[in-house]
Amino acid sequence: DDHVGIGIEKIGLAVPNLQADFFNQIKLGVENYAASLGIEVITVDAKGDTATQVSQVQDLITQGIDAFIYIPAGAAAAAVPTRLARQEGIPVINVDREPEGEPGDTVIYGENVMSSYEVCSSIIERAGGEGKMVIIHGQKGTTPEVQRFEGCKMAIDENPGVELVAQQWTQMWSPDEGFSIGQNMLQAHPDLKMIFGQADGIAMGAAKAVQAAGLDDQIVVGGYDGDVAALESLARCDTPFVVTATQSTQAMGVLAVNSAIAVSKGASVPARQIPNAVLTDCENAQQFVEKHP
């Protein structure tokens, strides 16, 4: 454990919203791995607000960080934090998204399109390849919302027997929204067979609505992200929520720290690093509960 060669002592981590498990997992990944290397991590949480994030990044730089892991908040990925860090010669590692026109030294993001294609293909297959389907989206206009729809749409278009009968958007990707919207959709379409919730919270809320309507046997629900609670739920194999795409969030954290070390040493890193999401269901959920990828 010789830390002399690492070259950085302090990493600044800007997360959009710690209340989302996805970001919380990345944070844990960064913090745990950095701790094992003896690196200090300063985390700031923008609570979903871009402007707050810009202010927080100013404060991070004031504290003399040696590397900056930047997960942009809000629909607009602000370019300003990258510019501020660049002025100080601090390496910038983007995670999840990068601001247009101002890329960091590398970007690490979970693949969205293909993984959501797989989730939707999976629920279509489980439903017997045909029937009515609805999608409960995340916050309208955000990148994951757009891309996850794109991927799922591909799966739907491949199966002419599948009919997308309704779509609705949540404001906050939350389970209570998933429940209410799911319930209303079941009301409008009692013969529904498939629900895709664009995040696990939404999907689990919708699955509860399915249970409340007593339609457990008729409907399958797919989610996205691989939140810890979602994995635990999948591992129990007893709800209509049957499949999700588990993002390798902890791995992303580790990757981010390693990239920061590499960049500060002057080593080259690929411009894009895209760990795959793993299709997860009742069978492989337990292993991820024990060790999140």
Binding site: Q168, S174, Q187, E232, S233
Partner: protein
């Protein structure tokens, strides 16, 4: 709310008994809304959808009951959404992580939320902090505490029967959670209308100094009202936990605005002293039906925001006009 002269018979009696004064406008609005949605969609007018709406307003309804009392005494509580989240996280922690039986866990959740309300009440009365600010601070504090319990992650793993309480419709009709909400409404209505303390709330809201001179312990009542409102938020949290079968600290953001809107749409005046529970029920139904209907109509979320804003303002302005015309 008033003892109108013509109140012994007919509509006057109805209006009096149900404290409908100030809420007849919204009631008509609600009926119009239902009529419109019945025509515009196939799925609105059915027992099942009606039961769905009841399900969906459970939490809002319970928050709005507590908020009605707070607004009746001329106060406001911005912390209900955060306190609901705090209650949920305490419940999850005690039941799932600490392994306590559900009864104890629920008591713990209600205790924690009630305490938060009592603290707001003390800040408002003893330290003379305006209610808006005291509860704004409590909103931030409760949210922070709720997040700290699990460092931001959610908790699942409640006993099966807990979730069933929100799902099984007894007699094909009432879930436990909806039954709890209805019980809360009835109890609150009886309290507000027939209990001495209920009437005292109106006096405090009308003019706290007059109430004090009339021998009412205004400070004690105020603290009790904020405690009750927070404990009801906590109860709402327990029901929401049952319904989602999971708890997380981000839940309930901006719920306070829905609750306040429901109360005011229902004819309770923000300056205190007038209004009541029955109006609030109507206000809650308007919001619930509107949300449900807009989803059934597949209206885009952005347009929904615009429509909900317009309906809120129309409902309140209509009542004002009705009053001005009289």
């Amino acid at each position: 709310m008033s003892d109108t002269a013509d109140s012994r018979f007919g509509i006057g009696a109805l209006r009096e008994a149900f404290s409908l004064t100030g809420a007849t406008g919204p009631l008509i609005g609600l009926l119009l809304l239902c009529a419109f949605l019945s025509l515009a969609t196939d799925s609105f007018l059915s027992i099942r959808n009606f039961l769905n709406i009841l399900d969906q307003i459970t939490v809002l309804g319970i928050l709005a009951v507590g908020m009605t009392f707070v607004i009746l005494i001329g106060g406001i509580d911005l912390s209900v959404g955060s306190v609901l989240a705090l209650s949920m996280m305490v419940l999850g922690f005690l039941n799932v992580e600490a392994g306590l039986p559900m009864g104890l866990a629920i008591s713990g959740a209600l205790l924690a939320s009630g305490l938060a309300g009592a603290l707001s009440g003390v800040m408002i009365t003893v330290f003379a902090v305006p209610a808006f600010i005291a509860t704004l601070a409590m909103m931030s504090i409760a949210r922070g505490l709720a997040s700290m319990i699990t460092n931001g992650s959610q908790i699942i793993g409640f006993p099966i029967w807990f979730n069933m309480g929100a799902i099984v419709r007894h007699g094909g009709f009432l879930t436990m959670t909806v039954a709890v909400m209805l019980a809360v409404f009835i109890a609150a209505w009886l309290f507000q209308r027939y209990r001495k303390e209920g009437r005292e709330l109106y006096a405090i809201g009308g003019n706290p100094e007059v109430a004090r001179l009339a021998g009412i312990n205004v400070n004690r009542m105020t603290i009790l009202v904020y405690t009750a409102c927070a404990a009801l938020s906590g109860l709402g949290g327990v029901l929401l936990a049952a319904r989602l079968d999971a708890v997380q600290p981000t839940i309930g953001i901006a719920y306070e605005l829905d609750a306040i809107a429901a109360v005011v749409i229902g004819g309770t005046s923000l300056s205190g002293g007038t209004g009541g529970i029955v109006g609030t029920l109507i206000g809650v139904l308007i919001i619930g039906v509107l949300r449900n209907g807009l989803n059934l109509l597949s209206v885009s979320p952005f347009l929904q925001a615009v429509i909900i804003g317009l309906v809120i303002v129309l409902a309140v302005a209509a009542e004002t006009f009705k009053r001005a015309r009289r």
